[in-house]
Amino acid sequence: MGRYVVRRLGQLVVVVLGATMILFACLFVLPGDPVGSIGGDKARDPAVVKELRAHYGLDDPLVVQYVHYVEKLGKGDLGEDYTQGRSVNEILQPKLVNTAKLAVTAIIFDVILGLSVGVLAAMRRYSVWDVSVTFLTTLAVGVPSIVIGMILQRFFVVELGWFPLISDGSFNSMVLPAVTLAIIDAALVAQIARSTMLEVLRADYVKTAVAKGLPRRTILTRHIMRNSVIPVITYLGISFGGLLGGALITETIFNWDGIGLALITAIQSQNNPIIVGVVTYSVAVFILLNLIVDLLYAALDPRIRLS
């Protein structure tokens, strides 16, 4: 298994390189001069501009820039940002932690909400409950999270005053953004949980468990849930990319100081090192997360051997 992990990490390198390469190619053919964004909006002395370009290596050919980037990346250095001249790592790491907090809370919501709703729907198949779950989950996927977030904010912050508007890092201030972020995935988790549950419910081993005279609860928790949760975990692993996309919007709405917000700001100010940094981080996290999912998967399902 150790080898497996090592190989997966090797894969990580490949994918991170691929992703950053694509991004590099895109960013640097973008119109506009990134140096224009260094500092403020004011015009500046050509000499200064020239120096800045040299400092950031912007006059090198794209390939050279990329190679430099990779070299630094190897040392865990993501470079310096354009607007404040600070280390990208230093800027992004606290944001990454913030986003991670949000994402983890969202995923917990996903699992609790999605799983319980999905399981209940499957258990009461064809009931009003089941049909409305199907309907509502489809609905949740169809409503843009902007709208969901703003409604939540308006209602719970402004009208009811239950939650603070501005995050102070407390759990309370995390509830709304996390819910907004979670809603779509929770709906999808519910759908997945429902259909795998239906499949598992029909499985022969469930019949066996019933024939053994086990109590309903035992059958549900031991034999059904454990087998149903595997696809849900897989889904959560792969949905991370979407989660980050969602974070762009959620963090904007709720002013959550995470990498999503950093990305939006960076995109608007052409702060390329930050953009590349965010993507690098998120791709790496995505792959690490999926590695964890795989390990979890193997832990939950003994049929899967990691070799």
């Binding site: 992703a19 053919v29 489809t138 169809g142 409503v143 843009p144 709208v147 595997i230 980050l244 998120s282």
Partner: protein, 310 residues
């Protein structure tokens, strides 16, 4: 959606279903059961599917005949009549420039349909082609394509889309292309895992044993039996694409703001939340309805396309 997941981990269930009860072979049916009529019959028997189809057809008609249906020019500004609540004159009210909301929603269906369908078609095209190559040829192709898919998969959709749009400029085409380019990976993975299981089916061996060409095997035997889950996923993705497009508008990189488009309308209307809610509620409802329609349609199609399901 479930198919996606089971497909992802390669444990997709495609094995032929249980043996159906013996068919009534007693009376030889002379009626020519054509492919399509049968699919149609199965489809029409499914209420939800028909409901979905109805929504989609209505939307398509609305999109095509927008100029005939819309009560007003969606771009016509009437600065003397801005922000009017819904009334008999303007069923869904007017926006900040006095434009008729209903007409904008009607015209907005055009963009929604174009973006939703075209971007998913693009994603399907890339995804199916690459997924088929990876699944059928395997080996280095598989490794290569799947790693590339990983890259795109790990790349957050919106981020990728934003970069492409910055690159190409705003407009419908860039939106379509960027959504297409950053969502093919799922299709490819899905199809690949399906193909991996279909590839080992005996009927594929049988075709090989007859000396069928690879082309024939892929096109006649493997693809038709592995695309259904792709179809379902594609259908549910249409809604996702429309929502994503709306999000792009929110982030200020969608289509040009004067264009009658639902995301733009929500974006413009969101500031009026609590004051003029009709401005964002109706376009949001339009998106939801469309997404629902496509999901129902997709699920219905899957059931109808599968001759085994009865």
């Amino acid at each position: 959606m479930t198919e996606v997941v089971t497909g992802m981990d390669g444990s997709g269930t495609t094995a032929a279903g249980p043996a159906p009860a013996a068919p009534s072979a007693a009376e030889p049916s002379v009626a020519r059961i054509s492919n399509w009529s049968e699919i149609r019959a199965r489809f029409l028997a499914n209420k939800l599917a028909v409901f979905g189809l109805l929504i989609v057809v209505i939307l398509l008609l609305v999109a095509v005949f927008a100029p005939l249906i819309a009560p007003a020019d969606p771009l016509h500004q009437d600065l003397m009549n801005t922000l009017k609540e819904p009334s008999s004159k303007h069923w869904l009210g007017t926006d900040a420039l006095g434009r008729d909301q209903l007409s904008r929603i009607i015209y907005g269906s055009r963009i929604a349909m174009i973006v939703g369908l075209a971007s998913i078609l693009l994603a399907c095209f890339i995804g199916i082609t690459l997924g088929a190559i990876a699944g059928y040829f395997g080996r280095i192709w598989d490794t290569l394509i799947m790693r590339v898919a990983d890259v795109f998969f790990a790349f957050p959709l919106l981020v990728g889309a934003i970069v492409i749009i910055l690159l190409m400029g705003r407009g419908v085409l860039p939106v379509v292309i960027s959504l297409g380019i950053f969502s093919w990976a799922t299709f490819a993975r899905l199809l690949r895992s399906q193909i991996l299981s279909v590839r080992e089916m005996d009927y594929v061996h049988a075709a090989k044993a007859l000396g069928a060409s690879r082309r024939r095997i892929v096109l006649k035997h493997i693809l038709p039996n592995s695309v259904t889950s792709v179809v379902v996923y594609a259908a549910s993705s249409v809604g996702i694409a429309i929502v994503a497009e709306a999000s792009l508008s929110f982030l200020g990189v969608g289509v040009s703001p004067e264009v009658a488009e639902w995301g733009n309308m929500i974006f413009a209307g969101k500031d009026f939340m609590g004051v003029k809610d009709y401005l964002w509620v109706y376009p949001s409802l339009s998106i939801v309805t469309t997404a629902l329609g496509f999901v129902f349609l997709g699920n219905g199609l899957r059931d109808a396309l599968d001759p085994k399901l009865r």
